[in-house]
């Protein structure tokens, strides 16, 4: 199992769905359905052109929170396995930001868990996004 990466990661490098799904499937042959979510960098935001995104994390806390999120999802939805990968640093428009995968015996819990994890991640994980546009950079500060 030397080649299998951690189930929860924060990294600069891009990731491969094939690799993540292979690792997830290897964890159990009882998995009947895998739901995934991939967040991508769009090339616009509120009608302004965006050429790049920049992500910064409070690394140790973000990783711990993502691990907690995965553990909670596994118990709450009866998953067989789950994975969460978030990139930091600069990501070009069209690039991959975050990947979440939930594997369960049936598709219902897989979908529910995957959606719950991305919703919770946005609320709970200390990561911040900067939009880079021809008009300049700006950190995204969502309003309550």
């Amino acid at each position: 199992m030397q080649d299998v990466k951690e189930a929860v990661r924060i990294q600069m490098e891009d990731f491969s769905q094939d690799e993540e799904i292979r690792a997830l499937r290897a964890s159990s042959k009882r998995i009947g359905g895998i739901a995934t979510f991939l967040g991508c960098a769009r090339d616009f935001s509120e009608d302004r052109e965006v050429t790049q995104l920049g992500f910064e994390a409070y690394g140790s806390m973000a990783l711990a929170e993502m691990n907690r999120l995965r553990d909670e999802a596994i118990i709450r939805f009866g998953l067989l396995d789950a994975r969460i990968v978030h990139r930091i640093g600069t990501i070009e428009a069209g690039g991959q930001i975050v990947f979440i995968a939930a594997g369960a015996e049936h598709r219902g819990p897989a979908f529910d868990a995957c959606r719950w994890m991305i919703d919770e991640l946005k609320q709970r994980v200390p990561i911040w996004k900067k939009e880079v546009s021809p008009q300049g950079d700006s950190w995204v500060t969502p309003h309550p």
Binding site: I118, V125, I127
Partner: protein, 79 residues
Amino acid sequence: MISVLLFGPVAERARVSMLQFEHRSGLTLQQLRDELAASHPQAFEIVCFTAVNGEQARDPQLPLKDGDEVAFMARFSGG
């Protein structure tokens, strides 16, 4: 010493991402915040969450120990 961490939008406004703050006996989270906010008002305007040693801290009266790591954070925007 207390290590103070600022990230992303807060660090940009404060023009600094890490500060060392002299610890003193009886120092609370609220006192630390008030003193930093006085010198970095724009940055602290957008602070929504506070963490002590990597755990969210919701009690402003929490006493701080020498060597603690305190993060003042804006609303998260990852994902």
